[in-house]
């Protein structure tokens, strides 16, 4: 039998009276309860959202749009060319050369800096080491130097005409002819990698030190009781325990290295010739270096590189996770 509205209202009120006062327990000190919470959440989120939309989402969308136009960055966005920029980039040998150099830089840089910084971090967390703060400061100093200054310093240091390195080696009879590390295809990229490792050394050393401090001290004490030496403690206690963090540090290292730019600009300007062109520098030269600028083309290059870099890093992540699963499966 259908009830009237008054009866429905009465049942609702009765039900409300028997329910526990959930809303009352969650009430914020201000008048208005849950509605107020939502308001404050919105207020505090809004600035972040604005910045996120303005500086992340909008540039991303804009880059996608620009990549579909033949645009110089100044004229109105009128010349829609579809995927023509993408087609041209995929057939551009300089882009692929820059891409190859970027990957090579990232892999070499990561392969060199991670073991070295880990070693330094292990040493700097040893109890017996004296002057820890001094060493920490020394290793960390290069990172606070502007990249431009580092580039300038090494340009002069490595210059074969009168650079300090060549002068030292020549004066001590260790070289007969000056060597130009930044002036040859075979050595320029490697030199840039090493300088980049020098500069970023402190940052990764700190990451490792943070990871190492997470290893419980009792495990080392137990290992001591079992008669483990330093090498065994390193390989059977430390490394397995910092492995999850190591995966993250490795991914971070790769991603950061893929963005190499400043050191290239200041040290080699992509040279000699095109030997050290990397993708960021390629994008920069296309977008900004010579008028008329090619924003559309550069945008397409940036997007293609982002996709390729994402695939590369994701591949690394998948491999790392698979290794971790296997390790757990076999109990090693």
């Amino acid at each position: 039998m259908r009830q009237g509205p008054a009866a429905e209202r009465g049942q609702a009120l009765a039900a409300a009276a028997t329910e526990p006062p959930v809303a009352a327990t969650r009430r914020v000190p201000f008048r208005g309860g849950r509605d107020d919470s939502r308001f404050w959440i919105c207020v505090f989120l809004l600035p972040f959202l604005v910045f996120y939309v303005g500086f992340t989402l909008w540039p991303l969308v804009a880059t996608i749009v620009y990549s579909l136009f033949d645009w110089d960055g100044v004229q109105p966005l009128t010349q829609f060319i579809g995927v023509d920029n993408y087609t041209r980039i995929l057939g551009d040998p300089l882009f692929w050369s820059a891409f190859r150099n970027t990957l090579l830089f990232a892999v070499l840089n990561t392969a060199i800096k991670l073991p070295l910084t880990l070693l330094a971090a292990v040493l700097l967390t040893r109890r017996w080491l004296l002057f820890k703060r001094f060493f920490r400061t020394v290793f960390f100093l290069p990172i606070i130097l502007p990249v431009a200054l580092s580039g300038l310093v090494f340009t002069y240091l490595l210059n074969p005409s009168n650079g300090a390195l060549d002068s030292f080696l020549l004066d001590h009879g260790l070289l007969k002819q000056p060597i130009d590390l930044l002036g040859h295809d075979n050595t320029a990229l490697l030199a840039v990698v090493l300088i980049s490792v020098w500069q970023i050394f402190g940052q990764y050393m700190l990451y490792w030190m943070a990871a190492l401090t997470q290893v419980p001290e009792e495990l080392y004490e137990a290992a001591d009781l079992d008669g483990a030496n330093e090498r065994q403690k390193m390989f059977y206690v430390t490394l397995p325990l910092i492995r999850p963090v190591a995966v993250i540090i490795t991914l971070l290292a790769l991603v950061n290295a893929l963005h190499v730019f400043g050191i290239i600009v200041t040290l080699t300007a992509g040279g000699p010739g095109r030997a050290t062109y990397v993708v960021s520098y390629f994008i920069y030269t296309e977008a900004f270096q010579n008028a008329p600028f090619k924003y559309g083309y550069a945008s397409a290059a940036a997007l293609i590189f982002a996709v390729l870099a994402f695939a590369f890093v994701s591949g690394q992540g998948l491999l790392a996770r698979r290794a971790e699963r296997l390790r757990q499966l076999y109990g090693v």
């Binding site: 600035p47 303005g54 040279g271 010739g273 095109r274």
Partner: protein, 491 residues
């Protein structure tokens, strides 16, 4: 004390303010239209950083003479300038007067197409009177004039101003037992001099910058002696790095490098200049601007001499190019101070005025509207004038725009030359430092450029534009002769 409603309102206002800050369009300097007698601020921008102090003097002097006008002259490094100026235009914050030379003879058309410029004046009589300061034929339709209005004017002189001068460090030459008054005039003499310098001194023979596009400093000087300092062959209408004469020039430079005559390292021009000024190198090749650069490095003309670049011994020669490319300062289309800007630029270009006298006194450049020899009296400048006046050192190249006015709307050459714009230097330097033959790389680059060039010309032709490869071909011209203007078709 704030109640709840007030607090919410305040929070919303703070959030909104943050949003406004984040999303603000940054427009702040748009100025209202000029009213008669009202104070005017003219913003001038260029990348002549070395002239910053001089610009302050200019601004002060002009303000003294015209108290209602304030000149804000800003100079920043070239690379930053070329990046920020387009952004200034797109954000409606362009200066009133700006410096722009990209595009050479096509600069006006490019800037007009971009909507960046307006005529200096709409008063035809005033414009005609102003043009008298230059030699006849200096203002050309399609290059500085459009529809009878003046958009550009010759700034630097192009007879003396340009690459191709050889600076010799007296001290190093003396140590090597060489006479600076008998500079090496041919390629073989240059090699011989280098041999002596290498054997008898600790200095390198030639400070040759190779970073980025800086290799042009040496390249222009030597390539012009053999054929042309351009990478485009106006005799045959094609890009030309693969031309046997330019390959020959490259091979000569490679020979110098293999012999250890070039200072090692992929150095930038500043480094090479310092090497020369410090006596670590005997020779440096560049333009007449070096006279003021050396001065800034504390190296004066009693320490060096200037000579023309050496030429090949016994083969046909070329010459440095003199082109219609000296149009530097333009009036922004966004300026609301056309009259004030024109008055200012008239004052600046007064051939005997404050600007000219002090600009030349500082040896910043030679000017197209001044008697340069009257004010530039340093021995190095006298040598520059003597070299520049010598026959066949620099010749007036043919100008395609004057042959085919339709090129004003063509993008073919720009598209071809700005795709991998530094390609020629990148290819040459990479092959030079690795001791590789440049021919294959040069040919690939030329093929790329020529394909873009001709394909675009064909497209434009098909769309009705009166352009063709023939517009860029001057078969009756030789590389060491000035092109006869009478040969341009009469319009």
């Amino acid at each position: 004390m704030l109640n709840m409603v007030g607090l919410k309102g305040l929070a919303a206002a703070v959030a909104a303010a943050l949003c406004v800050i984040a999303c603000g369009n940054g427009q702040s300097s748009a100025q209202p239209s000029q009213t008669a007698g009202a104070p005017v601020t003219l913003k001038v921008q260029d990348y002549s950083v070395e002239q910053t102090d001089f610009h302050k003097q200019v601004a002060a002097e002009y303000h003294r003479l015209n108290p209602s006008v304030t000149i804000e002259w800003t100079s920043i490094a070239q690379a930053q300038y070329e990046q920020t100026l387009p952004l200034a235009f797109s954000s409606k914050q362009a200066p009133d007067i700006f410096y722009w030379t990209t595009g050479g003879p096509s600069a006006m058309n490019n800037l007009l197409a971009s909507g960046w410029i307006q005529p200096w004046t709409n008063d035809a009589a005033a414009a005609a009177d102003w043009e008298k300061r230059w030699s006849s034929g200096s203002f050309l339709n399609g290059i500085t004039l459009k529809s009878g209005k003046v958009y550009g004017f010759p700034w630097q002189d192009t007879h003396y101003w340009g690459p191709g001068y050889m600076y010799m460090n007296k001290s190093v030459f003396q140590q090597a037992g060489l006479d600076v008054n008998k500079p090496p005039a041919t390629w073989s003499q240059l090699s011989d001099a280098c041999k002596e310098i290498k054997a008898k001194t600790r200095a390198y023979c030639i400070a040759a910058p190779m970073k980025g596009v800086d290799f042009q400093r040496l390249w222009f000087a030597l390539a012009a002696g053999r054929m042309s300092d351009l990478f485009f062959d106006y005799k045959n209408g094609k890009f030309s790095l693969d031309d046997p004469r330019l390959i020959d020039t490259f091979n000569y430079i490679m020979g110098l490098n293999k012999s250890g005559y070039l200072a090692p390292g992929v150095n930038d021009k500043d480094f090479s200049r310092q090497q020369f000024a410090a006596g670590q190198a005997a020779i440096y090749m560049d333009g007449p601007w070096m006279v003021s650069v050396w001065g800034q490095l504390g190296f004066h003309s009693d320490g060096y001499t200037v000579a023309a670049h050496p030429v090949p011994d016994d083969t046909p020669r070329g010459a440095l190019s003199q082109r219609y490319s000296q149009y530097a300062y333009w009036l922004s289309s966004q300026s609301t101070h056309q009259a004030a800007a024109f008055k200012f630029i008239q004052w600046v270009t007064n051939p005997t005025g404050f600007f000219v006298q002090n600009f030349l006194k500082n040896s910043f450049a030679t000017l197209a509207f001044a008697d340069n020899k009257k004010y530039l009296t340093d021995p190095a400048w006298k040598a520059v004038f003597r070299i520049g006046d010598s026959k066949g050192f620099r010749v007036v190249y043919p100008e395609p725009l004057l042959k085919c006015p339709g090129l004003a709307d063509s993008k073919a050459y720009t598209m071809a030359s700005t795709t991998r714009p530094n390609g020629e230097y990148e290819v040459m330097v990479q092959d030079l430092v690795n001791n590789r033959d440049v021919t294959a790389d040069a040919r690939a680059l030329v093929n790329m450029r020529q394909t873009i060039f001709e394909t675009q010309l064909q497209k434009e032709q098909a769309s009705g534009l009166k352009v063709s490869k023939d517009c860029y071909t001057f078969s009756d011209w030789t590389y060491d002769q000035s092109y006869n203007p009478a040969n341009y078709p009469k319009s």
